[in-house]
């Protein structure tokens, strides 16, 4: 780092304290998720009425073993979905911060949060679709949640297509931030619209609320684990991208 004296503030910085704990968080997240996985299958009490129209299934005899197992996916589906929302919210937050400050660091943050969001949205879609196929017997229905997630996934993909289609870094960052904000506004509206307008084919699926204590604890393990994995992925990727930017900046500085 030769040119540290004058141009140092302009260099993209990297390697703050969260980067140092990120690997540990990743390991901890994996361990917690694994514990949650084991708890979900070995300890958490089976559920009756987890299926659609669960009301008819009341009384343990009606519920078969297979049917109970399908509910286990909930312990992963829900934490992954929540993490994807959190990542998206962070992407939106950093997009706003970028438009306020025009600091490229926030653009990188927003982009990487979007990448993590895409990963977790894809995982949510896969786990959700497995369940849908098993429980409802169809691969796809235009259920509000499914529709919203599909649209969300398409918008995130569109975000990356847009970024790839622009060459100037300034413009790419601005357009990306604008689209991230619009997407964040659009998705709740999408859920509201598909939920509130009665579709002529599929009824709104009402699910039973309430969890027993052991289910809650299992869910907490999975939620904490997966959220930590999400954070660690974000941070590690951020460090990588940021270091790349730093190397580029240093190279340019050496050429001058």
């Amino acid at each position: 780092m030769t040119g540290e004296t004058k141009k140092a503030p302009k260099l993209p910085e990297a390697g703050q304290w969260p980067d140092r704990i990120a690997p540990a968080v990743l390991v901890a997240g994996i361990v917690l998720s694994t514990i949650g996985f084991l708890l979900a299958f070995l300890w958490a009490s089976p559920v009756n009425g987890a299926a659609v129209n669960g009301v008819e299934m009341i009384g343990g005899q009606m519920v078969t073993n297979v049917l109970l197992l399908s509910q286990k996916i909930f312990y992963f589906h829900m934490p992954v979905a929540i993490t994807s929302f959190a990542a998206l919210a962070f992407a939106g937050y950093y997009a706003v911060r970028f438009l306020m400050t025009k600091n490229r660091r926030f653009d990188t943050c927003s982009k990487i949060a979007m990448e993590v969001a895409l990963l977790f949205v894809a995982c949510t879609m896969i786990t959700g679709d497995l369940w849908t196929r098993f429980e409802w017997g169809v691969w796809w229905t235009w259920d509000p949640r499914l529709t919203t997630y599909l649209i969300l996934m398409l918008i995130i993909i569109a975000y990356f297509i847009l970024r790839n289609a622009i060459d100037e870094p300034e413009r790419r960052a601005t357009y990306g931030a604008v689209l991230a904000i619009i997407a964040l506004i659009d998705v709740p509206i999408c859920f509201m619209v598909t939920r509130l307008i009665p579709s002529s084919i599929h009824p709104v699926v009402v699910r039973e609320g309430g969890m027993s204590g052991d289910m809650g604890i299992t869910l907490m393990f999975c939620l904490a684990g997966i959220a930590m994995v999400g954070f660690a992925l974000y941070r590690l990727r951020f460090r990588q991208v940021r270091l790349t930017e730093r190397v580029e900046a240093l190279k340019e500085q050496l050429e001058d």
């Binding site: 918008i155 569109a158 847009l162 622009i166 601005t174 604008v178 619009i182 659009d186 619209v193 307008i197």
Partner: protein, 250 residues
Amino acid sequence: MAAEKGATVRTAGGVALKKPSTFQQYKTLLRKDLEQEFRTKEMLTSMGIYALLVIIVYGAALAQTSQTTDILQMSGGLLWALIVFTSLLGLNRSFAHEKEQGCLEGILLVPMDRSVVFLAKATSNLLFLLVVEVVAVPLFYFFFLTTTTPSESFWLLVVPLLVGTVGVAGIGTLLSTITINTRGKDVMLAVLFIPLIFPLLYACVSATTAAIVGAEGYADVMLTSLALAGGYDVIMILASWVLYDFVISA
């Protein structure tokens, strides 16, 4: 365009200049778009012909269905598919003129609020879309709905059409400004536009179908759908308005 309402600005050289008001700027920009369109008639003809072509495609696509039973339930969706594709075509064109002659740079040189540009462009897009709809909806009726009898509430479909078109023009103007500067802009607009417009499309199809079919309790469905579509319009246009400054300056 300097008119009596604008504030007077005195420059260093002692020359009095009239600073036009925001509304005058808006009118001037809108008139520029309309005049350009009425001279070339490029957007209107291409959109109108495209709408007709989509109807012809529908004719082939629906040729094997039993028209009398299904068409009423389907027509709301078909009509909106027609409008979405036609507006995609128009929105793609809407900034092409500005780019060709360096017109956009000229507009940006004028010291004015950037959101005026957004409002003017959104209004002209809205007007063009409405003109095309005035032609396309009767054509659609002529080709598909004369074999059946739509309900008496059929005329109510102008409400969702209007609400939907406002939203399409609003968010479409923002997105077409974004995509004009990207590689492969035609595809890019579709990739951004269709997922973002989805909630509005869903609500408008629901309201339109309710109006055309006119089944029992259609007023409730229409009201819910229109409230949601209207909410989408308000939120999205406000967001676009705020964000437009960043987009056009980038």
